[in-house]
């Protein structure tokens, strides 16, 4: 898909979104650590909020990158972000408490090298390429970590690779029914990869508006959070999963309505069962 994309200025500057994005993502990820301190799983929902914060930042990065016309579709940018992010994220989980920070740094290094490779070796010569790929790898890694925290209640390697199965009243330790062993990480991968590119892909065009796109990102984030929260019933306690699900549903309904309001504001007309308007010359 090659749709012509124009550079559009205005709105909140990108650097502001980037800083706000990385700070709130890391804070939300660390708030899931309350699970360990209080030995419950009630604070898992902060993982979902981290996902949303990271996605809002990431979708704006995609907008910056794809405004240059990279020759292939917008979705591919999401794929490369998560393809590099997933590896950084899993190595970072080995570092226990420091996992989110290690993930961010490691992903930044990977993204920077990939950006250098595309810009110089592949000769793309896009000014924003190195910075954008760096940011997107970080977003990919932190989003996956957020999903991991939401679904399993933590972000340590041991937590991601072990689960519990109840057979006839007895709780057994298992590795097959875990975030990694069951490969729920694949679901998180695609949930994030589509959610990060969809807002820009869906809102591109001459009438692009920043607030509408970012609202759509939040909507995609909450929608992904609903999906992940449903899957979390398999791995964390029912009560904690219900808290995540309720927060996700409330957030989704709100952002979806807001997005529709903003779209109505920007649309040329909002018609129900009306014919094609007459345009001169056709």
């Amino acid at each position: 898909m090659t749709v012509k994309v124009e550079v559009i200025e205005g709105g909140i500057p990108h650097n502001k979104i980037m800083i706000a994005g990385i700070v709130s993502t890391l804070v939300c990820l660390y708030l899931t650590y309350l699970n360990v301190l209080t030995s419950t799983e009630m604070f898992s929902f902060f993982g979902g909020l981290a996902v949303i914060a990271a996605l809002i930042w990431g979708s704006h990065t995609i907008k910056v990158l794809c405004s240059y016309g990279i020759g292939t579709g917008v979705p591919s940018a999401g794929m490369i972000a998560f393809g590099s992010g997933v590896i950084a994220m899993l190595l970072a989980t080995k570092f226990g408490f420091y996992a989110p920070i290690v993930a961010a740094v490691l992903a930044a290094v990977i993204g920077f090298i990939l950006g250098y490779v595309s810009n110089n070796i592949l000769n793309m010569k896009i000014p924003a390429m190195v910075q954008s790929l760096t940011e997107m790898a970080v977003v990919g890694a932190l989003t996956l970590m957020g999903f991991a925290a939401l679904i399993t209640g933590g972000f340590t390697f041991a937590g991601l690779t072990t689960g519990h199965v109840t057979v006839m009243g007895m709780t057994l330790l298992t590795h097959e029914q875990s975030f990694l062993g069951g490969c729920l990480i694949a679901v998180a991968f695609l949930l994030g990869a589509i959610a990060i590119q969809h807002p820009f892909n869906a809102c591109l065009g001459p009438g692009w508006q920043q607030d509408r796109m970012l609202m759509l990102t939040a909507e995609c984030g909450f929608l992904s959070m609903i999906a992940a929260a449903i899957m979390s019933f398999a791995l964390i306690s029912t009560g904690s999963a219900i808290i995540s699900l309720l927060i996700a549903i409330i957030g989704w309904v709100y952002t979806y309505k807001e997005y529709m309001v903003l779209s109505k504001r920007d649309a040329a007309a909002w018609l129900d069962a009306k014919p094609i308007p007459e345009v001169e010359g056709h």
Binding site: G83, G181, I185
Partner: protein, 278 residues
């Protein structure tokens, strides 16, 4: 920034300085691997081979992008990265199955390649089927006067106002070769990671080899998919989204992609191997 005197105009030129930097980066990454986890060096080298096979193979896959859907340009009407992913992952599926059956490594990799080639052969055949029997349009290339394999003349079969349409025979063969390379490369990455994880994870996690198997398979499979996508997208950037096949002038850009894929695969592979080393 580039030291090359004659600055090329088109995006097709090769930036030698960056290529040299790429090779140095590749060697440094290999060195890091050797320093932290010497037994991981050989698997990492094979992972790089797999990644380069993906990057090189995607150049063969004839992808026309959006214009192909209107019969305005030859090739398959979809995105290059994802079409290659479709073929390559179908190959990975077959390869992983053969690996689970305990076959020899060479057999596993070739099985993966055949799986990818088979997927592309069927898809390319059906594309021509729809063009010819669904829309009444013969295949014609826009980039060459004669098909390099069959020698068929192309220009007079090109309908007015288009750059060609459908898949000439050389594009079909390119698609199959691309599927073979992509499938084999993806499988090689999976196989090497699986071996590393199967050998080292039981010690790292303090559990038995049987318990570690689902985790090793999932992690290796997920990373193979992730590295596949990274390499495929980098190649898509290299050919700026569309290519007709091995006869396309853009095909000559493959050296850039080989270096890029080698660096990217060495990087991602190193990080993936370090999971068991740290």
């Amino acid at each position: 920034m580039s030291a090359v005197a004659a600055k090329p105009a088109a995006g097709g030129a090769i930036n030698w300085t960056a290529m040299a930097v790429g090779v140095v980066m590749f060697l440094i990454l290999m060195g890091i691997c050797y320093y932290f986890y010497p037994t991981g060096l050989m698997p990492l080298l094979l992972i790089v081979v797999g990644g380069v096979m993906i990057g090189f193979g995607v150049h063969f896959v004839p992808v026309g992008g959006a214009p192909a859907a209107m019969g305005q340009a030859p090739g398959i009407a979809t995105g290059v990265a994802m079409l290659a992913a479709g073929g390559g992952l179908a190959g990975l599926f077959g390869g992983a199955w053969a690996a689970a059956a305990g076959q020899d490594a060479l057999v596993v990799v070739i099985t993966g390649g055949i799986g990818g080639g088979l997927m592309m052969a069927i898809t390319c055949m059906m594309v021509n089927f729809v063009y010819v029997f669904g829309m009444g349009i013969p295949a014609a290339s826009g980039k060459v006067a004669n098909d390099p394999i069959t020698g068929d003349s192309q220009a007079e079969f090109k309908s007015q106002g288009t750059e060609g349409h459908g898949l000439p025979f050389v594009s079909f063969v390119g698609g199959v070769i691309g599927g073979l390379f992509a499938g084999a490369g993806g499988t090689l990455i999976y196989l090497e990671l699986l071996e590393v994880y199967k050998a080292a994870l039981p010690g790292v996690m303090q559990i038995t080899a049987a318990q570690v198997l689902p985790i090793a398979i999932s992690a290796a499979g997920m990373f193979a998919v992730g590295m596949f996508l990274v390499n495929a997208v980098l190649t898509a950037y290299n050919i700026t989204g569309t290519i007709e096949g091995p006869h396309d002038p853009k095909f000559k850009r493959w050296p850039r992609s080989v270096v890029a894929s080698a660096v990217a695969s060495a990087l991602c592979g190193l990080v993936a191997i370090l999971i068991v080393a740290l």
